[in-house]
């Protein structure tokens, strides 16, 4: 960020007198705003797409009356939610009730900072990228737990407890399933991980096809991540038919909106991490984006990244509208008895593979066979 600020100060004469740190700070705010706008737009459009896809899957149409072909549905929903009365139940813990949605929202939104949207499009290429995502998303647990408790509603409490237990349990397989990508790249930075999947192997350079273990860990990650973000079939914390609406049952208006947005934000983060760590990120197959001019390279890589990420989101929606929901004990059993041991075994397999074949994947070996 500071490097960018220096280059900006050098490039724009108007900024010459301004202290460097001010520029940096302003730049940070600007980037945060861009990310926020992107996140909100994505989440709005995401909810619309979700409803359209749901319509398609469910043999109906979905929103088509609000705006051209229902395009403005998310705007109407958003404005309405903002203008709704903000009820705080009489017996609720007012402070925590108000605070909780922000934890959830921040936890999901802060992860957008390290998502590598393009070859140069990343808000902050932290060298602890993945680790950072794991860390900030853990804020969600606190928010959900507090929301459930502060509502003073037993359904909400049950939902909050379920959510906390679920997220904490599934954090482990998610982390473990992502480590293979880290091992291959030798870095926690998401940009490095994406770069490690580039090259001329095309889609076979992806970590997904690196070796059988990484192939397997992609699915482990995707399953566990869906559970960590409370997507169906793991949406027990807000299971509509059991807990009415779960931890957010007492929330109305914009506070509910924050939960709603966070849910779609989480969905995108999961898809983005899957894309970056296993599906080659913004790498364009058989083509080196870095050779293009900055603007075109970024646009192209952004397009590739978003396409992949949205495809993953669509798959999540597909799963969501297809599968029934697990029961809470089955959910816990699945994490501790199946996913956690499997991810550990898988991690061991990847490490051994990398040790034995000196970091080379199957496609790489085949390619080197043919020179």
């Amino acid at each position: 960020m500071e490097a960018l600020a220096i280059s900006l100060v050098n490039a724009v004469p108007l900024l010459a007198g301004v202290p460097l740190w001010t520029v940096t700070l302003l730049l940070m705010v600007a980037v945060a705003a861009v990310i926020l706008v992107f996140a909100l737009t994505f989440e709005g459009v995401g909810s619309l797409v979700l409803r359209k896809v749901a319509g398609d899957i469910q043999a109906r149409i979905g929103p088509n009356r609000v705006g051209p072909n229902g395009m403005l549905q998310f705007l109407a929903d958003g404005v309405k939610l903002v203008l709704k009365e903000d009820i705080i139940p009489a017996n609720a813990d007012r402070l925590l009730f108000k605070l909780a949605p922000y934890f959830v929202f921040v936890g999901s939104f802060a992860a957008f900072v390290v998502v590598p949207f393009g070859v140069g499009l990343i808000a902050a290429d932290l060298n602890i990228g993945i680790y950072y995502v794991m860390a900030v998303t853990s804020l969600v647990v606190i928010g959900v737990l507090l929301a459930g408790w502060a509502s003073n509603n037993k359904w909400a409490l049950l939902g909050g407890m379920r959510a906390a237990a679920q997220i904490v349990s599934y954090e482990i397989p998610v982390g473990m399933a992502l480590i293979p990508a880290v091992l291959i790249a030798g870095s926690l930075s998401l940009q490095d991980i994406v770069r490690s999947q580039g090259g001329l192997l095309g889609i076979f350079g992806w970590n997904l096809f690196h070796n059988p273990f990484t192939f397997f860990s992609f699915f482990l990650y995707f399953t566990a991540a869906q559970a960590e973000t409370n997507q169906t079939p793991f949406d027990l914390p807000e299971a509509e038919s059991e807990l009415v609406s779960g931890y957010n049952v007492e929330y109305s208006g914009i506070r509910f909106g924050l939960f709603f947005l966070a849910e779609f934000g989480d969905m995108f983060i999961v898809a983005a991490l899957a894309t970056a760590c296993f599906l080659g990120g913004w790498n364009v197959p058989f083509f080196h984006v870095g050779t293009l001019p900055w603007i075109w390279g970024n646009l192209l890589s952004l397009g590739v990244f978003l396409t992949k990420a949205f495809a993953m989101v669509l798959i999540m929606m597909w799963v969501r509208w297809t599968l029934p929901r697990l029961r809470v004990d089955q959910l816990m059993r699945m994490s501790w008895k199946y996913l956690v041991p499997l991810t550990f075994v898988n991690l061991l397999g990847v490490s051994l593979w990398l040790l034995v074949f000196r970091g080379k994947g199957i496609p790489g070996m085949i390619a080197s066979l043919f020179g």
Partner: protein, 177 residues
Amino acid sequence: MSGPADFIFYAAAAMTVGAAILVAILPNILYAAVALLFSFAGVAGLYVLLSADFLAATQILVYVGGILVLLLFAVFLSNRISDGKTTNPTHFRLPAAAICLVLFGVLSYAAVSTPYAVKKGVYLPTTADIGELLMTRYLLPFEVASVLLLAALIGAALLSRPDRAASVKGEMEEGKR
């Protein structure tokens, strides 16, 4: 160093200490837990400023995502949560405050008056170094720590397991009824 770093430093320091004071005095234990969250976050901010990025993320991940959740669970499970109120009684407030203030004075005086051979801190990514050190120089402590974690895991599981003798007794009583 001036500018944003200083500003962020003071902000993080204020958040850390302010939240810690709230932890100490807030009457509602859940509020104290939330204050503790902010204190942890502030400490994480300080770590970032001290070029300990890995540690900062670990702080958030373990303290916020792990320990705080455990604390909240402990609060929920050890209070009549359905009543909605959580109390946090205190005692010996005045002597404790006196002791703490005196101690704080002594510690601060010692910290400020000691001439340290301060070198200029360098900002470097630390993850790789920490990893390497853990696998080489600190391998024994690392392994000991893993044994400790395993022991804690088993111990916690054993402790929180329902008491078999008691439950058998309870069933017998149930049967009698």
